[in-house]
């Protein structure tokens, strides 16, 4: 009956065999993979032990150690390069970077890295770029900049990382003109720009003057790299037709600081119909003094929550008059009162 429906006993046996083989194959794969990993780890530890003292001596300036490393077997060189370059992620001491450059040249670094840079495998290209950046090899700045247009997003990200580490002024323009390139990761764009600090401000301002369409991005960039020099331009942008641009301009002003004229602009910004513009205007007034500032910020403690928070923080920062305003408000039982009490508590504990 049902036996017939299930088909022959042979089929059943084959099914059992197939599934059992599947299990055995998987066990073999797991064991093989673990064994391979253990051997790799063991080899790596052995190489580390063998070369550790030599590397330390070479980094300490011992030329004999450099020569000894250069004479190491070719099959050890990749592991040695990894051992030398990886610590540079955390340790950005210029002396160590320079010394690592010297040592790795003896290990045929350039031939390996250039080969990786031409590889069809994206992760190899990314490794080469990051290595160039970590060791600040400015001879390869052109190649790193060219990699910003690589077809693979991870390579483009590695290129930005490399430019951040490289800090070569020759690459600054390439970074600034790509500020709007959404195919590049936004955090990395900010980090690369931030690496140059105020050096990139000039480029940003020049580009902003001829490209008002992307003003929002320039305002955000100036929040990272701007200085007092950018203040007049940012003040102009607080009257831009686009509300996000206004908010970003006030945010950048919060970084670059205000002069008397800019304080007036920020106070005007507190009247904006847009919450984010008012909030950023209140933030820009951080550290500003004057009765008008205190009075206007105090009145904003009853505003929408993001504005009230920024106003309270700015009041906390402006000295005795701000504290007096906060104390007066702290007696209230509403949210503004709570906010004032929080600021006073934080001020007391700071």
């Amino acid at each position: 009956m049902i036996e017939a429906e299930y088909g022959s006993g042979r089929l059943a046996l084959e099914l059992i065999q197939a599934s059992a083989v599947f299990v055995l194959v998987m066990i073999a794969v797991v064991v093989w993979e673990r064994t391979g990993y253990a051997i790799g780890q063991w080899r790596q530890r052995r190489l580390e032990r063998r070369y550790q003292s030599l590397i330390q001596r070479a980094l300490g300036g011992d030329d004999d150690a450099v020569r000894a490393l250069a004479a190491s077997p070719a099959r050890h060189r990749l592991a040695l390069l990894v051992q030398l370059i990886t610590p540079l992620i955390e340790n950005r001491d210029p002396g160590r970077i320079a010394r690592t450059r010297v040592i790795t040249q003896g290990l045929a670094f350039f031939s390996v890295a250039d080969r990786y840079l031409r590889s069809v495998w994206w992760w190899r290209r990314a490794i080469a770029l990051r290595a160039f950046g970590l060791m600040q090899i400015r001879e390869r700045t052109g190649a790193i900049v060219a990699a910003l247009d690589d077809t693979h997003p991870a390579v483009r990200a590695a290129s930005l990382d490399a430019l951040t580490d490289l800090q070569d002024p020759a690459s600054m323009q390439a970074i600034v003109v790509r500020m709007h390139d959404a195919t590049l990761q936004r955090g990395r764009r900010a980090a690369a720009l931030g690496a140059f600090g105020q050096q990139s401000e000039e480029f940003v301002l020049e580009l902003a003057a001829i490209d008002p369409a992307h003003r929002l991005n320039y305002a955000r960039a100036l929040a990272v790299c701007g200085s007092a020099r950018a203040r007049p331009v940012l003040c102009q942008w607080t009257a831009d037709d686009r509300l996000p641009v206004r908010a970003a301009a006030f945010e950048a002003l919060a970084r670059v600081g205000l002069d008397d004229e800019a304080v007036g602009v920020a106070l005007e910004g507190l009247n904006s119909p847009d919450v984010s513009v008012r909030a950023m205007a209140a933030r820009a007034l951080h550290g500003s003094t004057g009765d008008a500032v205190t009075a206007r910020l105090t009145s904003r403690l009853d505003d929408a929550w993001p504005v009230a928070v920024q106003a309270a923080r700015s009041l906390r920062s402006i000295g005795p008059s701000g504290l007096a305003a906060l104390r007066a408000t702290s007696a209230r039982v509403d949210l503004a009162g709570q906010l004032a009490r929080q600021m006073l508590w934080e001020r007391e504990r700071a």
Binding site: R130, W345, R349
Partner: protein, 471 residues
């Protein structure tokens, strides 16, 4: 008289066989998808890539929300671990959800808490907050003391209200985080503006040595129940969720570790206090909210173990947990039935939810029914016993092989339990899991289904926790 019964049994047996084949095919297909995602993730998340957060002048502030209800055994260790994370731009908001034990007193003592003012608006519903404390020892620590909201969702909402970070990390009070967990989880937000949430692989602390809130040695636990759950977690996190992440269809971010954009959580109304599986409910609502509006959304998943949690080592706690999970799953699937098969919701509507409904929704019922019907047919002489054993053996072997794929992925992703004895034991656990444990879990799935259908509230149950030092 017997003919219709025989026919029905034949049809039923064929249906079960077809279901079984489909399930295995789906699992086998998932494996390469998950493996590719894992490989890509490992190649991209290099140490240099992770250092991005330290290269930013102003990395995003992360508020770590810790809902705590009667957590006196673990809370101090947990908070100590959180304060020692390598991500500096963080604040910790512990929400004491009306604990009746010494949770608050221990926190006050260990971290020098003093009453303080903290102003915040309450966009999300939650039970009233009675008191706010801040730590004199570390100003990043805030403790909210609130009335018991009878669910984790309520406490999480209170924490999200008070959070000042643009990102909120919601964890369990007994969760231990890896030192670089937040840095790893923040990275996708820095890279991709469409990221709304990031989930992480959750590993099991049972059997591990823990010192000062840190895992210092990883070994398999002595309890067989905990060992079986380790295997289950590997399957869940490193097969299904990786495959979902690869297809941009993550529908569950574990309550033990989930980093969210605060504005997105608030936009969907926060955690739903009426949801049994509040973590899955929130994740699916996020997918629904953004996809319905045609806005880009990506929920990422990090296969590296970011968080560690305790699992129950007694049958009663485990049964209670599994029945609750089951009710939660069915409730979410029922509430979001409009998304099922709806291409408007992309891969979530067209692929992931139908998969979950068909395989996870029906799975335990069909498995138990399959065993019963085949056994009954064999007992009645309608089916030769040898075929019962064929079905059983093939089922066990295929299940074992699929689990071994998950073990392999776990090895590649996490390198846990790497010693020779642990490997032998792990393979034994994988094999033995099929004889009894799996069937019991499926049975609890049926019990949970019955509870869901009859509206029985099994509650959260009480998990017997252990202090980390003895975990």
């Amino acid at each position: 008289m017997l003919a219709p019964i025989v026919s029905a049994l034949i049809v039923w047996s064929l249906l079960i066989a077809a279901y079984f084949i489909l399930w295995n095919v789906a699992q086998v297909l998932m494996a390469p998808i998950a493996a590719l995602y894992l490989r890509r993730h490992q190649l991209q998340q290099t140490r240099r890539a992770r250092a991005l957060a330290t290269h930013l002048a102003a990395p995003p502030l992360v508020s770590i929300i810790v809902p705590a209800y009667n957590e006196e055994l673990t809370i101090v260790d947990s908070v100590s671990g959180l304060l020692a994370l390598d991500y500096e731009a963080s604040e910790i908001v512990v929400v004491n959800d009306g604990s009746t034990d010494g949770t608050l007193a221990l926190l006050q003592q260990a971290f020098q808490l003093v009453p303080a003012s903290l102003a915040f608006i309450q966009p999300l519903k939650c039970a009233p907050v009675h008191g706010i404390y801040r730590s004199v020892a570390d100003p990043r620590l805030v403790v909210l003391d609130k009335a018991n909201g009878r669910c984790k969702a309520d406490a999480s909402n209170a924490g999200i209200n008070a959070a000042s970070g643009a990102l909120v990390l919601v964890i369990d009070a007994d969760t231990l985080l890896e030192p670089d967990a937040v840095t790893r989880a923040v990275l996708p937000f820095l890279e991709d503006p469409t990221i709304v949430a990031v989930g992480g692989n959750v590993a099991i602390t049972n059997g591990c040595r823990i010192e000062d809130g840190r895992i210092t040695a990883i070994t398999l636990p002595r309890s067989w129940l905990a060992r079986f759950q380790i295997i289950e977690y590997m399957r869940a996190f490193l097969l299904f969720r990786l495959a979902c992440a690869s297809l941009n269809g993550v529908v569950l971010i574990s309550g033990a570790f989930g980093l969210f954009r605060r504005d997105a959580v608030i936009a969907v109304g926060g955690y739903d206090q009426t949801a049994i599986g509040e973590d899955m409910d929130l994740t699916i609502r996020l997918q629904q909210h953004f996809r319905r509006r045609g806005e880009p959304i990506r929920i990422a998943f990090d296969p590296h173990p970011l968080a560690w949690t305790q699992v129950p080592e007694d049958w009663a706690s485990l049964e209670s947990q599994r029945c609750r999970w089951r009710r939660g799953l069915l409730q979410v699937l029922w509430r979001r039935i409009g998304m099922l098969g709806n291409p408007r919701y992309g891969v979530v509507g067209a692929g992931v939810l139908p998969y979950m409904s068909f395989f996870e929704g029906l799975g335990p019922l069909l498995e138990i029914a399959g065993y019963l019907v085949t056994a009954i047919a064999a007992m009645l002489g309608l089916l030769a016993w040898k075929y019962f054993f064929v079905v059983l053996l093939v089922s066990v072997f295929f299940g074992t092989a699929v689990t071994l794929v998950a073990v392999l992925l776990s090895d590649l992703a996490t390198r846990r339990y790497m010693s020779g004895p642990d490997l032998t034991l792990l393979i034994a656990v994988v094999l033995l899991e099929n004889f009894g444990y799996r069937q019991i879990v499926s049975w609890w799935g049926c019990v949970g289904t019955a509870q869901a259908l009859t509206g029985t509230d099994g509650g959260w149950g009480v998990m017997k926790r252990r202090a980390f030092k003895s975990a």
